[in-house]
């Protein structure tokens, strides 16, 4: 068994286990931390699949920026209370788990039929596996979509500001001009 296979068998249970833990965790903060563990293991999988650039991006963007944003919102809203276990629709949880297992079985069957459990793919990428090759593909074949994503990010940033903006209450006559803006306090 090679080092890569050992690494896979170490990280795969951690990955699936942290995901299931996130599902069962009733505290939102703990769920977010388990999701960070999961994102890091997925980043390690990227490394094993010859995608070093995506490994770095996954750590920086997902495990770093996005999860900080999640934790920030959880703290801001003060929803780190435990979730009630009321079930408005009877059998919803059982049904969800059963249907989820059905989806999993279907996907595994499709993988088995379509790819087979032994396929390893070519030893090297046609273009080379380096970040340089990825950049060449990105900026030659996919330049226009790449520029479109920059527009998307700007639109998303503006949208977030518009959505989360709170209209300032009419300022009382003389005060409030020099006071720093009050931070939102969790209830």
């Amino acid at each position: 068994m090679s080092a890569e296979q050992i690494a896979f068998w170490v990280f795969a249970p951690i990955s699936v286990g942290s995901a299931i833990g996130m599902l069962l965790q009733r505290n939102a903060v703990h769920a977010a931390l388990l999701l960070v563990v999961n994102l890091v293991t997925v980043a390690v999988f990227y490394l094993m699949l010859d995608a070093p650039f995506l490994f770095a991006v996954q750590i920086i963007v997902y495990a770093g920026a996005i999860m900080v944003l999640f934790l920030f919102v959880i703290m801001l809203l003060g929803v780190d209370r435990e979730e009630a276990l009321l079930e408005p629709l009877r059998w919803q949880r059982t049904g969800a788990v059963v249907l989820g297992l059905a989806v999993l079985a279907e996907l595994v069957t499709a993988i088995h039929a379509g790819v087979g459990f032994a396929a390893r793919g070519p030893a090297v990428f046609a273009e080379g596996a380096s970040t340089r090759a990825l950049a060449r593909t990105l900026f030659r074949s996919y330049l226009l979509p790449f520029e479109a994503t920059s527009v998307l990010l700007i639109v998303a940033a503006v949208a977030a500001m518009v959505l989360a903006h709170r209209k300032a209450p009419a300022p009382p006559a003389e005060a409030a001009t020099t006071e720093p803006e009050e931070l939102e306090v969790a209830p």
Binding site: Q5, V16, L49, F53, L54, H112, A119
Partner: protein, 101 residues
């Protein structure tokens, strides 16, 4: 000896399934959102695995775009959750049964 690509695909299928069940089962809007992220990660992993299987970098490029879109999605989604929470004081989706404020 490399790990067969299908193993990664099975892990990605498992992550996607767990994310789906999470969306269906959890009632906290933030945790549901995290489950959606889990689904996205499962799909991204499948894309990278197929990229490896075919020796073609297009899958990695697609994953890169998917990451960017996920970042934009998280920003807007969290802004919506914050905005709803300010008006209704709840992040429980069962309490948000109306399409108006």
């Amino acid at each position: 000896m490399r790990t067969p690509v299908a193993y990664f695909l099975v892990v990605s299928a498992a992550l996607f399934t767990i994310g789906t069940v999470g969306v269906l089962v959890r009632r906290n809007a933030l945790v549901m959102f995290m489950s959606v992220e889990l689904q996205l990660n499962g799909v991204n992993l499948a894309l990278v695995a197929f990229s490896r299987l075919h020796g073609d970098l297009t899958g990695q490029v697609l994953t890169f775009f998917s990451l960017v879109v996920a970042a934009a999605e998280v920003v807007v989604g969290l802004a919506i959750i914050v905005s709803v929470f300010r008006r209704r004081r709840t992040a429980n989706v069962d309490d948000l049964a109306e399409l108006r404020w």
